[in-house]
Symmetry: C2
Subunit: 347 residues, 2 copies
């Protein structure tokens, strides 16, 4: 049953096979995924299925001071709607875009939100009266994919998100690798053009992000037009005076030579970085998410080819490359996993 | 107190401050480190200190079939010498050079020993009547350094061993990263010369091992002589018709230009690979061991310089680069840690 059908049936009160009273009596878990524009929230079952999800706007005024209050209010409304009290809730797992202090659940800095040394865990516990666990958004997305998505069942897992930037999460032995300063997983800043690379937002040159993010793919495509007036990409650009990453992949699917060479370059860079990551960690799965991953096989197949070419055969044999399946739900599902794990004292 | 003084005092029956009866009553742990030439063994205290250590020859006849029996006999002799029964022993943690099945403690393959699908854990348990835990030798060395060596206190730790080859061990959240096929930690096979690299033993080209192992340093030095007759390295070579890695570092210490440029190349390659590893895992410590690490600061300082140059500032800030301190004892101490951890059900 698709999740949306499930929710529709559930909300209408219809009886659902294998569900019903049993699930009613079981406690729900709350996942929260804070972004710069919206806050995604969900009730999640102890099996990791979304029971209901919704979102509210992120209030960026007063350096994000109202965010925890807004979350608490919205949760109260939704609980009321479901006729459920807080006794029926396990706790809240929340992801924030920034550097997290994992010892005490505070946020060192979340630039897009305006938080600096913000005691997120304790603030949210205070306004909700529920136990809270906090991690960064990329790590929660990785945990979500491990629990219920493309990484299901894998204990050693790399997630890489190809969007405006390139982010990542590393799971080893079923646990997120945070590193000493919460910086682990910054795959986007692994150097892959050692000489003459493009300047990255981080101030360095030649990071993976400068060749494999949506931003980078568009930039590189626009730079290569002038010599290739025969390309269909050039025609598209002339028509709409713009070009998207999706155009590049769409034209690669119909074998436009320029588009194919652009995609091949992206795949070769990703393949080279991921093959080295795989040699270091021998993961069972590498999960590729983010907007760029929607391109599907036209990108995944050449990445797989290059990983096979560059990595150790035994490492390649154990590895599965797959597309993320949870989309925007990964964060809230990962959040639910996290608070469950914390309350069971497994972390 | 130095370990050797301690052992001398201990063996002579002399009373040792903070030791004595209390330690006599505590159980000892056994660490075993199997190599292609010798088997190193030790009694280790629950605090990770070596109480006594010894070694026996590795019997490579009959595809290593006698090894577990030899270990059991040697242990019995040493227990007898110390007047201690097996009731006073916690168990055995053993490292083997090969691919380990961590589920059941068998060895998929240990080429230098002759084992193939050898049930090491169960065989050694049968002949010793003690609980046994098994891992590969590089991982145990990393655990040893984490427990009592240069990595002490760090939960996120990379060990890299620069010897005939280049090996490694990755510890995340205080646990060894094995990966799905036990291949994690193969830092020596991360590609660092993407184009035109030297052929590696693994069949690929340009692996870190082809530029940073003792073998590689010697090979590269010998190749660069012809153009540099003014180098003191060339004089050394003419005198003894050979050259060691130690010669290269010794001459770098006295600022021979060729030697300095060789060391700079090694450091740049190591710095570039380790900076990317650090970006991925944000470790607290990178511990450099193996024969080449004995060069000390003449190698470590330029590696540190290149890591600082190549990695993210926040990652560099949290990182300490240090020389392994346990030498050949790392494996047996790591073995003791492992069996302790297994028996406490922490793994």
């Amino acid at each position: 049953m698709k999740e949306i059908d499930f929710i529709t049936k559930y909300m209408s009160g219809e009886r659902i096979e294998g569900w019903g009273k049993d699930m009613e009596n079981k406690k729900w878990i709350i996942g929260v995924d804070l972004g710069g524009t919206t806050i995604k929230m969900a009730f999640v079952s102890d099996a990791g299925d979304i029971i209901d999800k919704w979102e509210i706007d992120t209030d960026l005024t007063e350096n994000g001071a109202n965010i925890t209050r807004d979350i608490a209010r919205s949760l109260d409304e939704q609980l009321h709607k479901h006729g459920r009290s807080k006794q029926g809730i396990v706790g809240i797992g929340m992801g924030a875009p920034g550097f997290i202090n994992f010892e005490n659940g505070s946020v060192f800095e979340a630039i897009n939100i305006g938080w600096k040394n913000f005691p997120l865990k304790s603030e949210l516990e205070k306004v909700t009266n529920l136990p809270v666990a906090v991690d960064n958004d990329a790590n929660l997305a990785a945990l979500g994919e491990m629990w219920k998505g493309a990484g299901e069942g894998a204990l050693d897992l790399i997630c890489i998100t190809l969007g405006t930037g390139v982010g990542g999460g590393v799971i080893i032995n079923g646990q997120i690798a945070h590193g000493i300063g919460g910086m682990a997983g910054e795959i986007g800043h692994i150097t892959c053009v050692p000489k003459g690379g493009y300047r990255c937002n981080c101030g360095r040159r030649g990071c993976l992000e400068t060749v494999a993010s949506a931003t980078a793919i568009k930039r590189i495509a626009l730079n290569r037009f002038q010599d290739r007036p025969e390309s269909r990409l050039y025609t598209i650009y002339q028509e709409k005076r713009d070009l998207t990453t999706k155009d590049v992949f769409d034209m690669a699917k119909v074998e436009d030579a320029l588009a194919l060479s652009l995609v091949d370059d992206v795949a070769r860079h990703l393949g080279s970085v991921l093959s080295n990551v795989a040699i270091l960690l021998n993961p069972q799965k590498i999960v590729i998410g983010g907007g760029v991953s929607l391109a599907g096989d036209v990108l995944l197949k050449p990445i797989d080819h290059y990983i096979k070419t560059f990595t150790l055969p035994r490492v390649y044999d154990g590895l599965e490359l797959c597309k993320a399946t949870l989309g925007n739900d990964a964060g809230v599902i990962g959040g639910a996993w996290l608070i469950n794990k914390h309350l069971n004292n497994d972390v």
